[in-house]
Symmetry: C2
DNA sequence: GCTCGTTCTTTGTCCGACAAACAGACTAAG
DNA sequence: CTTAGTCTGTTTGTCGGACAAAGAACGAGC
């Protein structure tokens, strides 16, 4: 087995009767590697948490070169099905939902969704989430919400930003539903919409206090198991949010802000930044 | 520059005054490559649709070996920011939402969400989507919906499965809202929930006909711009769905079906399947 | 029994090479 | 002049092999 995959070459000929010709595409070997391992995980032969075989072993078993294997592993890694633990080893893992929503959020922010589009979505989701949360909430989440409220109170009093705490509050409510689907559904939009608060705050007096009151009402209803109340308060809260946005002079039909510069997400404080070489200055085309 | 990145090695020493020690982690060079290119795209220096420089050029400019560059490119590829067009070349691109939701769906299906959890979510989303769709729908989507209804009618008459068409109908409604956020929010859950139809159908007479009628009502309202009507019909449709599920004898508190075997998704018809070598039979740890 | 240095493994990178696919330029045929 | 075929340079996909550093495993010494 040497050089190019014999994958794509043969097999396309022999046009019989009703030829359909659905664009044949030969996957490169590194992608086959990816799918092969993916399969092992999805079909349970490699369980979540299991260590993957070493690169050399994989290369050997799959009959490809180690470099090729590594490329496949990168795909696997980025797909969330393999994860580095303690630095080096790769372990089979479930795609992390926060990772997924982060990506979704990025996709959204690049696709010019309007404030109102997001708002309508969350207006549908959040009240329903609150209602379900009221049915299912557990002690742990109650404690987390209480802590969140306390910190929010502090922040409001000190005049600090409450955006992060706001996001967290709503995320906790979603978590309280006990189903990952909720979190996944709302997170990207929420992460894009709620930070608008940041821009409203300077223009609206006591908006922080209003937010805190609203959160408290919602929390009380949720803790009391009052689904209907939780839903109602949440809806009011969301409506109030939009009202504030308009009042502050923003246009809800505009695409939501481009989020500005990518502020220090993951690994931004990289030690040795790769620099372009002085030599040639690119030009691709 | 040879061998290991000097990234992680040096630089950790020199403990001055108030040392904080925030877990330094040296990203391997291939990840730095990934982030470097990612940045170029996110910050607009590489615009969506632009061809990426060739691997050799990238390697040269970033000062790493081509193999390393390729690993970084695989990460980029899987993250959705680079895409193959016409087979080979890589182009900067936006993460495709259907790709994202596919992954989200997989994550969900592995995390044991209950039927009811999903159902509650969609019961909140779908009616709201229909309402918004009624406000914003355009001719093109109307045509697509009409085509969908026609095919659904055929399928019902012929007794074929309508699951795919059902999914498509709802996705089209979501698309009609004009905001990608809706699609992203509902797709994973919908893809997991609606196929339950498949299992109900054999146990419930005329359920296909009911579905068709419901879709028609929703469509009529949407086309007429009747948001309230669309919302009402959709809600009924969703409620009906759950009723059928229970009636058919399934327990809505159970985790939704594990989707069974991964039926021929992408690239399953791979030409040269990679096989394990006869030699050693793995055993890791 | 626990710590320390020594070996073995595994990952991260690099070097170099080459076949096949592709894009173009050019040429022969209709 | 258009169409089909040929040649050529570029780019990707893979492969072979090498080596440093980080961890892990292991045995010697306190």
């Amino acid at each position: 087995m040497d050089g190019t995959a014999e994958a794509g070459a043969g097999g396309a000929a022999r046009e019989g009767a009703a030829a359909v010709f659905s664009a044949i595409e030969a996957a490169p070997a590194y992608r086959l590697v990816f799918h092969a391992i993916e399969r092992e995980i999805l079909e349970g032969r490699l369980r979540i948490g299991d260590r993957l075989p070493t690169e050399t072993e994989l290369a050997h078993r799959l009959g490809v070169h180690r470099s090729t294997t590594r490329e496949g592993l990168r795909l696997l890694e980025q797909s969330g099905l393999a994860e580095r633990r303690e630095g080096r080893r790769l372990y089979a893992s479930l795609p992390r939902t926060d990772d997924l929503s982060e990506r979704a959020q990025r996709a959204l922010s690049l696709s010019r969704v309007s404030f109102d589009g997001l708002w309508r979505l969350l207006r549908a989701l959040e009240p329903a989430a609150a209602a379900l949360a009221a049915e299912r909430i557990d002690a742990e989440t109650i404690a987390a919400l209480e802590a969140n409220l306390a910190r929010t109170a502090d922040a409001v009093e000190a005049g600090r930003s409450v955006t992060q705490l706001d996001l967290e509050f709503h995320a906790l409510i979603a978590d309280a539903t006990g189903d990952a689907a909720w979190r996944l559904a709302r997170e990207p939009s929420a992460a894009l919409l709620f930070p608008a608060n940041e821009r409203m705050l300077p223009r609206l007096a006591q908006s922080g206090a209003r937010l805190l009151t609203a959160h408290r009402n919602i929390f009380d209803a949720v803790r009391a198991g009052d689904g209907e109340g939780a839903e109602r308060w949440m809806r009011r809260h969301i409506d109030d949010f939009r009202r504030g946005y308009v009042l502050a002079g923003f246009d809800p039909d505009e695409p939501v802000s481009p989020v500005g510069a990518p502020e220090s997400g993951d690994e931004t404080r990289r030690p040795g930044r790769i620099e372009a070489r002085p030599g040639e200055q690119g030009g691709d085309g």
